[in-house]
């Protein structure tokens, strides 16, 4: 360090310390600034916008349609069917991964950089910091889903077309209604996606390791998906976080049924509340010995 010559600074001496009460908004702004500065967040969002395009083109060009997935048999020449095929695929492990990339890292990265001791010694409480990070992760998940859905729907309709859709009861659905139902189907995956966001937050807080926070929710999601495919365990299947990802089927039958959608909402709510509750308690009580 070298001595510097600075202009004379005049200063008043206030009588007491300035009382400043930073709100949740300020903490949220800081979290968003940190997220904006990270390449991986932009990469994920950009991927969500751009990746569906080549996928749509490739599937449209297939001579033999992927019959093993719902709507696969119509996907090569029906835009709505193709959108739903991509939706079915995305819900298997892609959505948990994309949300975990941010949510699984948002707490653990502070451990990685040793910055807990920096941020927890300002004027913002641990609770506020927890909610700022949670809201950031949740907001990212919403944005991600909106971009992915919009990109898939638009590129499918533009590249393949908007022919009437054959529904899950064999019925023919006109293009206008099909668009609404397809959009609603994508929207219905928000609840389980946010459930995975909360699960990733729990794993991030508990493990203090970004790799675990990102990979573990994906692995758990895949295991839950496999378990859900087994027969004879309906009691467990209805409690899994991956089951609500398929609740949109009821929107495309005739008549429509919404039982799984309602049940799914409750299950996701329970997973989210329990995960966040446990994460909050761990975060608040933790002794920061490193950094």
């Amino acid at each position: 360090m070298t001595a510097t010559q600075a202009a004379p600074l005049t200063r008043e001496a206030p009588a007491q310390a300035p009382r400043r009460h930073p709100g949740l908004g300020a903490a949220l702004r800081f979290e968003v600034r940190k997220l904006r500065a990270q390449y991986r967040a932009w990469a994920v969002l950009l991927g969500a916008v751009l990746a569906p395009i080549p996928i749509v083109v490739i599937i449209h060009g297939q001579s033999r349609p992927p019959k093993d997935t719902l709507f696969g048999r119509f996907a090569t020449d029906n835009g709505f069917a193709l959108t739903l095929l991509v939706l079915g695929f995305a819900t298997q492990w892609l959505l948990p991964l994309l949300t975990a990339i941010v949510a699984g890292d948002v707490f653990a990265s502070e451990d990685q950089h040793g910055t807990w001791k920096t941020v927890l010694t300002r004027s913002t409480s641990r609770a506020r910091i927890f909610w700022a990070k949670t809201l950031t992760a949740g907001g990212f998940a919403v944005l991600l889903l909106v971009l992915l859905a919009a990109s898939t729907i638009v590129s499918s309709l533009l590249i393949v077309g908007s022919q009437p859709l054959i529904g899950l009861s064999g019925q023919t659905i006109a293009a206008g209604t099909a668009l609404k139902l397809v959009t609603a189907s994508w929207a219905s995956t928000l609840a389980p996606t946010l459930g995975f966001t909360c699960l990733a937050i729990l794993l991030s807080v508990w493990s203090r390791n970004p790799a675990v926070g990102i990979a573990a929710p994906v692995v758990l999601g895949m295991v839950m998906g496999l378990v859900g495919g087994l027969g004879g365990i309906e009691a467990i299947r209805s409690l899994l976080l991956t089951t609500p990802f398929e609740a949109w089927h009821g929107l495309l039958t005739q008549p429509r049924f919404t039982g799984p959608l309602v049940d799914g909402l409750l299950v996701c709510g329970a997973w989210s509340v329990l995960s966040l509750g446990a994460a909050f308690l761990m975060h608040r009580r933790r002794d920061i010995t490193g950094g």
Binding site: F71, R73, L168, V212, G231, I233, I236, H249, T253
Partner: protein, 260 residues
């Protein structure tokens, strides 16, 4: 890191252990039930049938088909509950252009998944093959050849009361003389209600070779022994089925005798 992996492994093991316990205790509870499939399949089939008709330039309504189905999972000894690739549904419908076979139904095979969706395929004689020709002469995929459907897991589970008789069939293609000069006939009884029972009368054109009673459960095979010895020089034997329970083939089955 090791602690993390250990805890995750323990958590996974706990989930799997819990699952096994639930299976053991719950006895295979599932939303996939016979009643729900019997209500869902005819609806999906009828709508898909209408699509096919539209492609072929015909006009059919779903209601006019009066489709009804009886479903069974893997034979009489397995409970008709739970997902699997071994669901068989017997379905009948009314279409003047596509008459039902003598037993009154077509046999469809369903692969039902735990997410309450299924893929179904039926007899090509009734549904058509992989492709059909549309009104403009183009070969297009036949929607009825293989189709998907999903049903409401919360739908009414009361039985539909639809029953179709099992179909009894002779499956031997040749008859071999055994050491004692007699012979036996392989038969099977297909999916349906109540199994198959009746009598098979064998004759050699002129000579009555005896009658063999049979009683088989649905989805089973059996062997019937000719009561009498085959006269030497018999070239073929004709079997006439007289069913008392279940359906039988429309005419007698003539089976050649293997030359020694």
């Amino acid at each position: 890191m090791r602690r993390t992996i250990l805890v995750l492994v323990v958590a996974l093991a706990a989930i799997l252990g819990l699952g096994t316990a639930v299976i053991a205790v719950g006895g295979g509870a599932s939303n996939v039930t016979r009643a729900r499939l019997e209500k869902s399949l005819p609806t999906v089939f009828a709508n898909t049938y209408v699509n096919q008709a539209h492609i072929l330039g015909r006009h059919v309504t779903a209601r006019s088909l009066h489709a009804k189905a009886m479903c069974d999972k893997h034979g009489p000894d397995v409970a008709d509950v739970g997902p699997g690739g071994d669901w068989v549904c017997l379905m009948s419908w009314t279409d003047p252009q596509v008459p039902m076979p003598p037993e009154g139904y077509g046999k469809f095979e369903l692969n039902v998944h735990s997410n309450d969706c299924f893929t179904a395929g039926g007899p090509s004689k009734l549904t058509g093959f992989l492709t059909i020709t549309d009104t403009r002469g183009k070969e297009v995929t036949n929607p009825l050849f293989e189709f998907d459907g999903c049903f409401d897991p919360g739908a009414d589970n009361t039985p539909t009361g639809v029953f179709f008789p099992s179909l009894f069939a002779v499956t031997s293609t040749t008859l071999t003389r055994d050491a004692k000069g007699g012979t036996s006939l392989k038969v099977n009884c297909g999916t349906g209600a109540h199994g198959c029972a009746g009598t098979v009368v064998a004759s050699d054109g002129n000579v009555n070779l005896g009658s063999m009673p049979y009683r088989l459960k649905e989805e089973s095979t059996g062997t019937l022994r000719l009561p009498a010895r085959l006269p030497p020089g018999t070239k073929e034997v004709s079997f006439e089925v007289r069913p008392t329970t279940g359906a039988g083939p429309s005419g007698p089955a003539t089976i050649p005798v293997e030359r020694p």
